[in-house]
């Protein structure tokens, strides 16, 4: 480990703080640029999708169990399951899959 965890945490916190604080203190009117507003609107979906896959298949003990959890989670979320149901189902799928397979 070449880098200090405390430095990482400081940088992370400073950036997060700035992101939240700068607009409320400086911005007194709405963002006008349609491109910028669209970009900010799409960002969370892309970031979360990119971070979920293929990482979900690498965090579990076997890639298959993570892939099954991914599919199960997508299906449940698609049909309107709650946050708790989706998360819990993903965990159960992995636990069971790693026992059975």
């Amino acid at each position: 480990m070449q880098h200090s965890i405390w430095t990482y945490l400081f940088l992370m916190s400073a950036v997060t703080f700035a992101i939240r604080i700068v607009p409320v203190t400086l911005l007194r009117r709405e963002i006008q640029s349609r491109f910028l507003r669209s970009f900010l609107f799409y960002v969370p979906y892309v970031t979360l999708a990119v971070m979920t896959f293929p990482a979900i298949t690498e965090t579990t003990q076997t890639p298959v169990s993570g892939a099954l959890a991914l599919v199960g989670g997508i299906v449940l979320a698609f049909f309107g399951a709650s946050l708790f149901q989706v998360s819990a189902a993903c965990c159960i799928i992995v636990f069971v899959a790693e026992r059975v397979l």
């Binding site: 945490l9 604080i21 409320v24 609107f41 960002v43 979906y45 892309v46 989706v86």
Partner: protein, 238 residues
């Protein structure tokens, strides 16, 4: 504070699994507790933990935190429009400090100007729930057997799916972007030059490129439904 209790309970569970991710990245319980207390961000913290785990350059954590938390910039812009004009700068700062998906939700659900003490009440229960949950996740991750840790480690991804899939179903553009993101992320993890980059750097690149493409090709319409638009129309009511 009343509205903050269900949020705090949800946070306790989600941040517990975030704690397991933090433990995998090598954080101590104290470090995880502090990270959550100061950041109050699920995806942003998780993204940061992947950088810490990879021992990547400091610049990576700065850029990735910026990208992963970009939506808070948007929410903060919305909230900035909802303060009474004479709200002091300190109230603005303290309210903004804990703009999370959930607290943003309950804040804009209320009519009229932001009432800082309403937010403080919610924060007073939500923030301890979040940071203590992270701490417990790190501690428990060291005790629990590997099969249980493996199972719990996907809870966070379950939450991400729960956030992105319903809007992907409702909106064709978001759906296309999510699908493209899965495909591009998988490809990037396996293709020569990109695979050599850290996961964090790939996330930054893909987010900027794909969200940029989406915004260029299909900018959001001036309609209700998008968070900032519904809030904007509420402001006009106020």
């Amino acid at each position: 504070m009343h509205d903050g209790i269900p949020i705090a309970l949800g946070y306790l569970v989600v941040s517990f699994t975030l704690g397991i991710a933090a433990r995998n990245a090598g954080l101590s319980p104290a470090e995880g507790f502090l990270a959550s207390l100061l950041n109050n961000a699920s995806a942003g913290e998780y993204a940061g933990f992947t950088v810490i785990a990879a021992d990547a350059p400091y610049l990576t954590i700065i850029l990735l935190t910026l990208v992963a938390n970009a939506r808070y910039l948007l929410m903060s812009c919305v909230i900035s429009q909802k303060f009474a004009p004479d709200t002091s700068i300190w109230h603005r700062i303290f309210v903004a400090f804990d703009i999370t998906d959930e607290i943003f939700g309950i804040t804009i659900a209320r009519k009229g100007y932001v009432a800082p003490f309403y937010n403080y009440g919610a924060m007073a229960v939500a923030m301890p729930g979040w940071s203590i949950g992270t701490l417990l996740g790190i501690v428990a991750g060291n005790i629990l057997p590997p099969s249980v840790v493996s199972a719990l480690s996907v809870a966070l991804y379950g939450m991400f799916l729960w956030i992105i899939v319903p809007p992907a179903r409702a909106d064709r553009v978001v759906g296309a972007l999510v699908t493209a993101s899965f495909a591009a992320s998988f490809a990037a993890a396996h293709i020569g030059v990109l695979a050599a980059l850290s996961a964090g750097t790939r996330t930054i690149l893909l987010t900027v490129v794909l969200a940029g493409l989406g915004a260029a090709l299909s900018p959001i319409a001036e309609k209700a439904g998008a968070a900032e638009n519904s809030a904007a129309s509420e402001k006009e009511d106020a």
